[in-house]
Symmetry: C2
Subunit: 375 residues, 2 copies
């Protein structure tokens, strides 16, 4: 236990706790909404807070290119600029840079890549990622890591995992104790190693030896089966210290998060609730709804009668479908509000179930509900 | 004076009053936000109400095609469907149908046109416009009128104006006393006659003889000069009864509304505040701002230091510019909130100036401010 994270309850491997940051406290498990370019797409910070969302994630890659880390700092840092009072996390920029494939060149120094906005060459290194994240000012900053293109050989997976450990050392050395705005920043390491459980264990042990504020599990949700993901989580989470938070990056569907919480994961992020909303797919307690479906055209019922979000309190399925068919921005906004509220509520309910010692039953029932064909 | 409209103060020709509808009361002068497809683009009804907007306008043409008048009625009518508690107005569909030019055929019966969504033939008549507006359920419904393609000869202008009067009689006969939702609906006639002051006077006299709840002035803001618009208003408003509201359709820029209020106009609608916001043009008390301008990039000031809207209370010019440059929906939403608040505040201030007997000075000063190059 640290002043940053307190583990408060367990139920099997599932955990409930509390994160304390200079921008407030949040209970875990927690879902972090993705705010790539300094906004969660389609909603104001007020609307976002009203969904029950507690933490927002910003993308270093996008923000370093536009408006630029210095511009964000000049505008008061990411919190002030985007008017988000709660905790924030920034990624390292690595994932976006590496996912560009053949437009980048990786050396021990860092990654040379082509800026997608103007085609200019940029070099991202562990030190530069830390400098940018220091200026952005998030409460949690992620290490810069080396991510192999997939599929990767075991040798390549091992090489990049070990380079990531070396880069973590450079990140720890480079990151000042406080952000440019004078707030505490906590550096998370990222467990890599692909689907190779021995490499995952090696990565986890190396990171734990460095005594970090938190540990992320990266390189998942990239096409592997649910069984493979569960095997990696089962190999990694028992090696991580109980008193530090665990963050499964880029996951995911409600059923995947429920399974991962059962393996002891505390934190999640994913574009799914927001991206699906913009493509008119809705998550409900009775399964998923495709809102372009003509069956909704004159339906006065809300998306989810069990939901208390602004959208469900005020608008019918028929109206929401109309907005989507007419291409109105408001349709995307209202579905985004609903989906984010659904994700935040799922975490709240999971946390309660863990604290009340009934997580296994809760997770099994909820997985069955959320994966049903919607009605 | 009627139970619908009360004239409360005058200052020269400028007027302040009150509209009473089954969905609440509003002070005039009033700006009505355009909600073409059953939503004011980019904002929730809560955000809209918080801008100070009091009345929303819906477009019969768009709504009859999608989702259809019956679907709107099945969803509870336009107020319930769109969750707007305040007064609403619907246009007749005429302007949109006639502006399609060569794809329509006008006879004494009505206008045959091609549905822009699926290419099918549709007939819009005074009776059908009333039937649709009855189902939509707005508090104020507009007569179906004949609008000539421009430029039009005096003969053509006269013919369509006189046909509009005959169509008004059919509208009065066709419109039930109450909407499909059981609420009072008030039918406004539309003064036409182009830039010909004699035809305008004839139109106004014909309409006044029919003793309507309110009178609109149509066919302006279509390319005429400010002098021509003022001449028409100067010829028409003195002929209209003092105890009924006057609505100048489709106008406009703040300076045009200020001039028209000085001629005794009470109600306005225009796409400008919302459409300009989506194209990053902002109205402020110190002139107009183009938010793509690089000068705003690291500016922590709000759009307008004199403004109390949600956008100005929370966000910097630098952040708003970033959102716009990054193509984020939130940028459009926040500029829309600001521009609508600016328009609503302008009406509030104008009403106060009229009630306090200082409208002429207020209008002259405000026109100079709002037309300045922004800073």
């Amino acid at each position: 236990m640290t002043d940053f994270f307190e583990l408060q309850a367990t139920c099997g491997a599932a955990r409930a706790g509390r994160l304390r940051t200079d921008h407030g406290e949040v209970e875990t498990p927690v879902f972090m909404a993705v705010g790539t370019q300094g906004t969660v797409k389609g909603v104001t910070p007020d609307q976002l807070a009203n969904t029950g969302t507690k933490v927002v994630l910003g993308n270093t890659y996008h923000l370093m290119l536009r408006p630029g880390a210095d511009a964000v700092a000049a505008l008061g840092g990411l919190h002030v600029m985007a008017c988000w009072q709660g905790p924030m996390l920034t990624d390292s920029g690595g994932f976006q840079v590496f996912s560009m494939g053949d437009t980048n060149t990786v050396t021990e120094e860092g990654c040379l890549f082509k800026n997608h906005l103007d085609g200019s060459q940029e070099l991202l290194t562990p030190e530069r990622s830390m400098e940018i994240q220091h200026k952005l000012g998030a409460d949690i900053v992620m290490q810069f890591d080396d991510v192999p293109a997939l599929p990767a050989t075991t040798e390549r997976t091992a090489d990049t995992m070990r380079r990531s450990v070396r880069w973590l050392d450079r990140c720890q050395k480079a990151l000042p104790a406080h952000s440019a705005q004078g707030k505490r920043q906590r550096l998370f390491g990222i467990v890599q190693g692909g689907l190779d459980l021995a490499l995952r264990a090696e990565s986890a042990r190396e990171l734990v030896a460095r005594d970090l504020p938190g540990y992320a599990i990266g390189g998942l949700s990239v096409g592997e089966t649910k069984g493979e993901m569960n095997a990696v989580l089962g190999a990694v989470t028992p090696l991580l210290p109980a008193g530090r938070p665990r963050y499964l990056m880029g996951v995911g569907f409600p059923e995947d998060m429920l399974a991962a919480m059962g393996q002891g994961v505390d934190m999640f992020d994913c574009v799914l609730p927001t991206r699906c909303a913009r493509h008119s797919l809705v998550f409900t307690s009775r399964g998923r709804l495709r809102m372009k479906n003509a069956a909704h055209a004159t339906n006065r019922a809300p998306l989810d009668p069990a939901c208390g979000c602004y959208t469900c309190a005020n608008f019918s399925r028929g109206y929401l479908r109309h907005l989507i068919m007419a291409g109105e921005i408001l349709g995307m906004t209202l579905l985004t509000i609903h989906n984010l509220h659904f994700y935040a509520s799922l975490m709240d309910q999971a946390g309660k179930a863990i604290r009340q010692g009934r997580y296994e039953k809760f997770a099994a029932e909820t997985i069955a509900q959320v994966t049903a064909k919607g009605s």
